[in-house]
């Protein structure tokens, strides 16, 4: 974090709300549209109070009609507005895939640069709310796969605010995914305006023996594991890419070269997932400096179950990271 005069503690939810509110005050073309975003302030209360400040013409409740209002977002973005489209749960991304993948992502390219789509789609990721298979997925890999989309995955209130500002100011469609278990996580956020550029990874903890690359919800798990590893005499570095598209390959490779061992974590599925891409980037870019194959830790390849002990078994834990790191470091 850069030096700041005034810093206070905000929750992730407050940081997101503050970022959108500040952008809405700055730019009258920014508006929010989604299900129960106005008086309800979303089910997670992330947008509470915004309708009172900005009114219903800019904090716009929609019917339960994700493809319809996401499509409206695309058209509005093409014609001079900067929509923030709210998709209540990341699982509902499947409903809007045509509007995102065939429309928003391709408009600029297909038109040879004639039209652009400056739209943010904010949604959630993450399991462990006991919400079962259709309200718990982490689908960031699906979207990171598509040229034309950008994908931001904040892991702290500071990152959430700075990345949201960049997302709203960006001239491209940006998918902004928030871990629904982290909305109450507190952290320092400067008072003054700042934005975090996309494609810039953040070293959340410096270390020497092993790198743990972790996204979003997995950053806290990685930091917890790093603390345990320290007690075992292993110095772990935790690197958060912050955006999977664009991906800061340079910082990831440099950290891998420094520590020579890498674990990659993400709450999406392991197969064909974010961890696969990052592991490949590192294996290619740091091959001659690695002392062990890159290890991946991600969600188990099952639909997320409801029953608490079953659900917990599907999600990466600190213990899994500690065990893997100790085995890789032979300590």
């Amino acid at each position: 974090m850069p030096e700041a005069v005034a810093v206070r503690e905000l929750t992730m939810a407050e940081a997101v709300r503050e970022a959108i509110s500040e952008e809405m005050r700055r730019d009258p073309t920014v508006f929010v549209m989604g299900e129960d975003v106005a008086e309800a302030g979303t089910p997670f209360k992330v947008l509470s109070g915004m309708v009172e400040e900005f009114g219903k013409s800019r904090i716009i409740d929609t019917p339960i009609s994700e493809p319809g209002f996401t499509g409206i977002g695309v058209g509005a973005a093409m014609t001079g507005l900067r929509p923030v489209i709210d998709i209540m749960f990341g699982d509902f991304l499947t409903l809007v895939m045509d509007q995102l993948v065939n429309q928003a992502a391709k408009v600029h390219y297909m038109s040879g640069g004639a039209w652009k789509v400056p739209m943010v789609l904010r949604t959630t990721l993450g399991a462990s709310r006991r919400s079962a298979a259709q309200h718990s997925q982490s689908l960031q890999a699906w979207l990171s796969h598509v040229p034309g989309l950008k994908v931001a995955l904040p892991s702290t209130p500071y990152d959430a605010k700075g990345l949201m500002k960049t997302a709203i100011r960006d001239d491209n469609p940006v998918i902004f995914m928030e871990d629904k278990m982290m909305f109450r996580l507190k952290g320092p956020v400067p008072v003054e305006d700042y934005a975090i550029p996309f494609g810039s990874a953040d070293v959340k903890r410096e270390g020497e023996d092993i790198t743990i690359v972790a996204t979003s919800s997995m950053v806290q798990v990685a930091l917890g594991a790093a603390k345990q590893l320290e007690e075992a005499g292993i110095s772990a570095e935790v690197v958060d890419p912050r955006t999977t598209s664009p991906l800061d390959e340079k910082t990831l490779i440099e950290s891998a070269k420094k520590t020579s061992r890498v674990i990659v974590m993400d709450e999406g599925y392991e197969r064909y997932g974010v961890t696969a891409e990052i592991a490949s980037v590192i294996a290619t870019g740091a091959f001659y400096d690695l002392d062990a194959p890159v290890r991946r830790i991600a969600a188990m390849h099952v639909p997320i179950p409801f029953s608490p002990p079953l659900e917990d078994a599907t999600i990466p834990t600190e213990k899994m990271v500690v065990d893997a790191a100790r085995a890789m470091c032979k300590r």
Partner: protein, 334 residues
């Protein structure tokens, strides 16, 4: 709300001067001649990819776009050349795009099914059937939000009537009173299937269920099309919200240029009958001559001048260079 067919537009077009009629006549001729050239380029293997010809449906695009302002928006379809031309695209850059050339509207990256042009308010042709209903409704939302009086036309074929997005956006357009007109071009065939096999109930009952005023019109009669379009566009501009226009028309050619053997889904006699009796260019031409608004010689001259323009546009496109291969990675992000 008016729902259902209006009487044949015998009165339509009264008060429109000869200049406008001749412009519309020329507009239809341009599309017809453009598409004939596309057919020729494609069958000679000069044009890559797919082409879906608009021949037979010219009165729809021209009649409606003639009633729009230049800063009004349209969204188009895979069968979109007619809409693009009618909204103001120039044939040389259209052909260049169809041939994948740098001078094309999309610098060769879009092709036949993705022509887009901000200068003429064309938000883009769309190769996902019904896929542009969101963009069109969003442009209408934007116009209302920004306080402009722009109107958006969402062109789609009757094949899109099976797509859920259309109904989601019609619901939103009515709830929010958005200035968008959903124009359903019923050319009777969803690709290779007659629409009666795919469409339950009455088409006009669908928009009516949302409280959207719905009308139907003979799409081969440009006077009727232009008349109803002028009225619906005026209503949208005046803040009266969305409407739905069902246009009966006919696709003379196959689903795409390569769809030659069509006997299994429609009879040659049916095609011949439409060409002979329901041709939109002939219908307008006969009326103009009959009403002494124009002479046949004038119409012939319009046609031959249009031909020259099309030939020169093709020539331009054929001679235009391809984009440099290095451009392939440009424009992925703005």
């Amino acid at each position: 709300m008016t729902t259902g067919s209006r009487p044949a537009a015998a009165e339509a077009g009264r008060g429109i001067g000869p200049e406008k009629w001749l412009r519309m006549y020329r507009g239809m001729q341009m599309i017809r001649l453009f598409e004939e050239q596309v057919n020729d380029l494609y069958t000679r293997a000069v044009m890559p990819g797919l082409a879906h010809l608009y021949i037979g449906e010219e009165a729809v695009a021209v009649g409606i776009c003639e009633a729009l302002h230049s800063d009004d928006y349209i969204t188009s379809t895979h069968r979109g050349h007619g809409h693009c031309l009618a909204k103001g695209a120039s044939p040389d850059r259209m052909f260049a795009e169809l041939l994948g050339k740098e001078a094309g509207y999309c610098r060769g990256k879009g092709g036949s099914m993705h022509i887009a042009d901000p200068a003429s308010g064309n938000l883009g042709a769309n190769a996902i059937v019904g896929g542009s209903a969101g963009i069109a409704t969003g442009a209408a939302f934007s116009a209302k939000y920004r306080g402009t009086k722009q109107v958006t036309i969402c062109f789609f074929g009757e094949g899109a009537l099976g797509q859920g997005l259309l109904y989601e956006t019609m619901n939103l357009a009515r709830l929010w009173n958005l200035p968008v007109i959903y124009v359903c071009e019923n050319n009777m065939y969803n690709e290779y299937t007659h629409f009666s096999e795919t469409t339950a109930g009455e088409i006009l009952a669908r928009p009516a269920a949302f409280g959207i005023p719905a009308e139907s019109v003979d799409g081969q009669d440009i006077r009727a099309v232009h008349d109803v379009a002028t009225r619906l566009i005026g209503q949208a501009r005046a803040g009266m919200g969305p409407s739905f226009l069902l246009v009966s028309t006919y696709r003379y050619h196959g689903h795409h240029v390569g769809d030659i053997s069509r006997d299994y889904y429609r009879a040659k006699q049916e095609e011949q009958r439409w060409r002979a009796e329901r041709d939109p260019i002939k219908i307008l031409g006969d009326w103009l001559v009959g009403e002494k608004i124009a002479t046949q010689a004038q119409l012939d001259e319009i046609q031959s001048k249009a031909k020259l323009e099309i030939v020169s546009a093709v020539d331009f496109a054929l001679k235009a260079p391809y984009p440099a291969v290095g451009e392939v990675g440009e424009d992925v992000y703005a």
